[in-house]
Symmetry: C2
Subunit: 138 residues, 2 copies
């Protein structure tokens, strides 16, 4: 199966705005491939406009992020936030509470390879508060 | 784990030239992540200079390609070659004999998510002959 894309600048189309309540700000998802009999993961491209981020969450079988554009933040609970940028690959362990998203002043786009454990690939928790987000951007 | 990359143009470094005998021409591999307990695949970026291509091969549990730069070719045995280009996602089925690579006149870079069946992720076959490659480029 081939998914065509004629966009000559960004790697993928931006996709649909995420309105599931698990994101703060303007985040968009382009699904690239659903889980199937060979691929025990969903593959997608997520675009975070400046200020946008996921809620805190965990993945029962981990997730791999590949940053394809811009600069953002990745933070595991209890640790300082780290800057992630184009070309970085982040191997997120299973069952670690974390969030990721854009910086306040720059957008960030990443591919996500989200592994499944059975039918579950994420457990969603509380939003990242303004206070937590401001601290991460310092 | 975070792999840093300071290259501001290409998404990833080109990596090491492939000299395993399974490629024709100048092809390079940058491993992004090895198989681990969560990820039952190896993640890499493969750069094919113009004219470079894989041998014919199969994957016991399939492979996903994400073209990140340029334009190349993907061909399944007995079918016409198809052009693949930046932003295309190719979901290669299990046990289908195929090859991929650059066009004669353009380089191509793709991310490869190569699933494992046990310890095997590919079965390598014959080189793509000049005749086959020229036909595919027509």
């Amino acid at each position: 199966m081939t998914t065509q894309n004629n966009n000559t600048t960004a790697l993928f189309p931006k996709g649909e705005k995420l309105t599931n309540g698990y994101f703060t700000g303007d985040a968009f998802l382009q699904v690239l491939l659903p889980k199937d009999k060979n691929n025990d993961f969903i593959l997608g491209s997520v675009t975070f406009e400046p200020g946008a981020r996921t809620n805190w969450h965990t993945h029962p079988k981990g997730q791999v992020l590949i940053v394809t554009e811009g600069e953002g933040l990745y933070q595991e609970k209890g640790k300082p936030a780290q800057t992630i940028k184009k070309g970085d690959v982040i191997n997120i362990p299973e069952n670690i509470e974390h969030w990721h998203g854009a910086k306040a002043g720059s957008k960030m786009v990443h591919i996500a390879i989200t592994n499944y454990e059975g039918e579950t690939n994420a457990v969603w928790l509380n939003p990242v508060t303004e206070e937590e987000y401001n601290e991460a951007n310092k």
